[in-house]
């Protein structure tokens, strides 16, 4: 491992250089810039695979390596080393980010073909890859924070990428700002967590903090855990900071695939798993994590059932799937491996689904309303098959990859924690119900797009497959969606792989026998899928959305998340701001206004002295001389008088 560790900084270096060249090179790089972006990402992927294979060839206990790059900051009691931590967890992310990232880069070359700002797009993509790799490779919370903010910036830039010249430019810019601001709320959590850690442990490096987590008082651990959870909620669009993800679909579709499905939004899960020892020291925080995961899981699933916009439906699905991962991350060592496993498989199949959605939109002239699709399977066979693989994977049909990871999470959810069977029942049921709803909305999405007896296209549309640059990445991701779970899941390969990082999980029995859980899940999933098939493939899909039940209408409006934010946060903030403004204007400004008034009054008085007549000034001077002479004379007289008195 140590012979190739020197390559690790290049993982970040290649895309960073790519971004720098593209951003600083300006229009001169327009012609070949996109290929430079692909190359930078591809080079990082190659380095990632070299490191991965070397790591596989190393004994399990030697796989975690800290590669120090020297001291970064040294301020008083705080010394932070600039270093990278390579271990199975970060390597998993590196491979996911670079491999999927490179596929999406290639896809984007074709997808963004007609965009005048394609070079800038690739610069941002490279910047994102560099920041994401910094995030996962960091060996301290501080460096992780750098990557954390870096992906936030890249996300902001890419959501608002089309912020000029389009009819929706304004909405896009607003969506970007919304994502940025809501992420800030989460970032406060991370900063606070770092501050608490520094105050109690005296360091923010993983190597110091994580082993010391067991020694923290439960209150401290809970505080840190909840702060970290807040950060994770912001970045991963978990309840209550979930509102930005749906709007983030304003960005180009490859961005949605890479950032808002496969990688960045899972950073919160990474943070939770990485901080596992801290959470384990704080059972309350763990419970909150699980609750947040469960709530988001159902929230996203319910929203997903009602959305007609293909990207928003997928975004809701992403939120829901990350809810699964969060739930697993809150279950302790038993859940970590499955959280990351699901993250990995989800990265593949969700990226595939998003890219497939992009291909559909590309074919349909940027139409996103699924009620205007239908019957596309004949025209887009490759997209149909690859999205079909992703669909089966997310449903959790064996042997597709989603089955291996999601089933693991459901089983883990049924394991009682601390001997409290109610938790197992509640969260296990939520997970299973979520799987059923997932099956419903994904089947709905799939058949509304590809199935149906007659197309519901609007204009004179001629759907066709895109260039090979677009469908080859789809094929790769489709293969991954189909087989990745089988390869890594059978015999617990992936769980073993992560064991050096997350620790060995003692086997506990779920409250129900495992075959029963699997069977029940499958039955419910098939029921959900069959219901959706009947409603959207067998029956005709109306082109205008029916009014629907109360729940449907609520779900279409994201369960009133924006209204809730507006009422609970924005309006009070406006009220405070207005109060402060009024106070500032009427109290502070008025108060201080007296001073300039006095000054200007004095000015007006003394202005009259400035007659402009040079003779007046001369008179003033001469008078002054006279006065000084008189005073001097008086002083001398008085001095002499006093001297005489003595």
């Amino acid at each position: 491992m140590n012979d190739v560790i020197g390559l690790a900084p290049w993982l970040i270096g290649f895309p960073l250089i790519g971004a720098a060249v593209l951003l600083l090179g300006g229009r001169a790089t327009d012609r070949w810039g996109h290929w430079l972006g692909v190359l930078a990402s591809g080079a990082a992927a190659v380095v990632g695979f070299i490191l991965l294979f070397r790591m596989i060839g190393t004994p399990a206990e030697e796989r975690a390596v800290d590669h120090s790059l020297g001291t970064w900051l040294s301020a008083g009691g705080l010394d932070v080393d600039l270093g990278l931590r390579l271990d199975p967890l970060s390597m998993t992310f590196v491979v996911l980010v670079t491999f999927v990232g490179t596929l999406i880069h290639i896809y984007s070359v074709a997808y963004m073909d007609h965009d005048v700002d394609r070079r800038r797009f690739f610069a941002y993509l490279n910047l994102f890859v560099a920041a994401m790799l910094t995030l996962v490779l960091a060996d301290s919370y501080l460096l992780l924070f750098v990557g954390w903010e870096g992906v936030g910036v890249a996300s902001y830039l890419l959501i608002g990428f089309w912020d000029t010249g389009r009819p929706t430019a304004r909405e896009n810019a607003v969506a970007a700002k919304k994502a940025f601001v809501m992420n800030r709320v989460g970032d406060m959590g991370l900063i606070a967590a770092m501050a608490i850690l520094f105050a109690t442990v005296g360091s923010v490096g993983f190597a110091d903090v994580l082993p010391a987590a067991g020694g923290l008082s439960e209150g401290t651990a809970t505080a840190v855990g909840l702060c970290l959870l807040l950060a994770a909620c912001g970045k991963s669009a978990q309840f209550p900071l979930q509102a930005w993800l749906g709007d983030a679909m304003a960005g180009p579709t490859p961005v949605s695939a890479l950032i808002h499905a496969a990688t960045m939004v899972t950073a919160g899960v990474y943070l939770m798993v990485r901080s596992g020892p801290i959470l384990e020291a704080a059972p309350t925080a763990q419970l909150v994590v699980v609750v947040v995961g469960a709530v988001t899981l159902l929230f996203g699933a319910v929203v997903g059932t009602a959305k007609d916009d293909i990207k928003k439906a997928l975004a809701a699905s992403t939120m829901s799937q990350i809810g699964y991962m969060m739930l697993a991350a809150g279950l302790g060592p038993a859940g970590y491996a499955f959280a990351i496993f699901h993250l990995l498989t989800h990265g593949f199949f969700k990226a595939g689904l998003f890219l497939g959605a992009g291909a559909v939109m590309h074919a349909m002239g940027d139409q996103t309303d699924m009620r205007r699709f239908g019957g596309l399977s004949r025209f887009l066979p490759i997209t149909w098959i690859t999205m079909g693989l992703g669909w089966l994977a997310i449903l959790g049909i064996p042997p597709f990859s989603g089955y291996w990871s999601k089933d693991g999470i459901i089983e883990a959810a049924f394991i009682p924690v601390d001997g409290q069977p109610w938790r197992a029942w509640v969260f296990g049921t939520v997970a299973v119900v979520g799987a059923a709803i997932t099956a419903f909305y994904m089947t709905r999405l799939f058949f509304m797009t590809f199935g149906g007896r007659r197309p519901r296209w609007t204009e004179n549309q001629h759907p066709h497959e895109g260039s090979p640059l677009m469908w080859w990445p789809l094929v790769f991701l489709g293969v991954g969606s189909a087989g990745l779970g089988l390869v890594l899941g059978i015999g617990g390969t992936f769980t073993t792989w992560l064991e050096p990082v997350v620790g060995h999980a003692e086997h506990h029995e779920p409250v129900l026998p495992v075959p029963v859980i699997i069977g029940a899940t499958l039955v419910l999933v098939l029921l959900g899928a069959a219901l959706a098939f009947r409603m959207y493939a067998v029956q005709l899909v109306p082109e205008e959305a029916p009014r629907g039940s109360f729940l449907t209408r609520a779900a279409r409006r994201d369960l009133y998340q924006d209204a809730a934010n507006e009422t609970l946060v924005v309006l009070p903030a406006h009220g405070i701001a207005r109060l402060v403004q009024v106070g500032d204007r009427d109290v502070v400004d008025r108060g201080w206004g007296v001073l300039p008034l006095a000054v200007s009054w004095f000015g007006a008085m003394f202005r009259k002295v400035q007659t402009g007549y040079v003779r007046s000034y001369a008179a003033g001077m001469a008078g002054g001389v006279l006065v000084i002479a008189l005073v001097a004379w008086l002083v001398v007289r008085l001095g002499a008088g006093l001297g005489g008195a003595q």
């Binding site: 007549y613 007046s616 008179a619 001469a622 008078g623």
Partner: protein, 272 residues
């Protein structure tokens, strides 16, 4: 203190008491005469008297320099500028700034009192005199030169630079850059014709009136309509208010007994 001390001769005393009051009178002339030229002449008198006093006070070199530099150069410069600027309403002694006259007089009087008081109350050492105090016993210009080119040579050089700078500065200040094309006789004529509509006369201005009772520069000519033509009187006289009305202005003939020229009221001073 040299034992010899300073003896002020009776001749010097007489000289002082003759010259000093005249100087003060001439200086007061600066304050009270109306014409700037008269003021300049008053000042010349003060300065020459000052030169006499210098010579009386064992400073013959300074006395000569005073005559040469001040009366010879500086005052001539003043006169030149006076001619250049010409006659002006600012010669008037009317005060325009409210209170300035009283303030000025008060301050001037106060200055005189304070300075005089200080001089009167100060205890001066017995006078030393220069002849006794000069160890080398050389005459005044040489002794002055020794000090000037000895102790004060640097200041001397600096003053030289100052003079050159002042000369250049005056050149720069008074230099006028030509902004318009050069005028020749043709262009001047054309400009006058063009300006006809603005009331500029194409012909020479009418000459002053010539009358049986008076024939002078200060009486305006009468136009065909019997009205006076102000332009016919020199501008300087008009500004000074020294023009007299034409004897027959507006009327065929006034009372023959009245001495029109002398009785004509002078125009009041007016600002132009």
């Amino acid at each position: 203190m040299t034992p010899a001390g300073l003896e002020i001769s009776g001749g010097e005393t007489v000289l002082f008491w003759v010259v000093a009051p005249l100087m003060v009178l001439a200086a007061l002339g600066l304050l009270f005469v109306r014409r700037a030229v008269h003021a300049a002449m008053c000042l010349v008198f003060v300065m020459i008297s000052m030169a006499i006093l210098y010579i009386a006070q064992e400073a013959p070199f300074l006395g000569v320099v005073q005559v040469v530099v001040y009366t010879g150069a500086v005052m001539m410069l003043f006169l030149f500028v006076l001619m250049l600027v010409g006659v002006d309403a600012s010669d008037s002694l009317t005060e325009t700034i409210r209170g300035q006259r009283w303030i000025g007089l008060l301050v001037g009087l106060g200055l005189a009192l304070v300075l005089g008081g200080v001089v009167g109350r100060a205890a001066f050492p017995p006078g030393a005199g220069l002849a006794g105090g000069d160890p080398a016993g050389v005459a005044n210009p040489q002794a002055l030169a020794r000090v000037l080119f000895g102790d004060y040579v640097l200041a001397m050089e600096a003053v030289g630079v100052l003079l050159v700078t002042a000369a250049v500065g005056a050149l720069v200040l008074t230099h006028r850059r030509r902004l318009t094309p050069k005028q020749n006789q043709r262009t001047v004529a054309e400009a006058r014709v063009k300006a006809l509509t603005e009331g500029v006369s194409l012909t020479p201005l009418p000459s002053p009136g010539v009358y049986a009772t008076s024939n002078a520069m200060d009486t305006p000519a009468l136009g065909p309509d019997g009205e006076q033509i102000p332009q016919s009187v020199s501008r300087v006289l008009r500004i000074r208010g020294q023009e007299r009305p034409a004897p027959h202005a507006g009327v065929a003939l006034v009372d023959a007994d009245a001495p029109t020229g002398a009785a004509a009221p002078r125009r009041g001073e007016e600002d132009v």
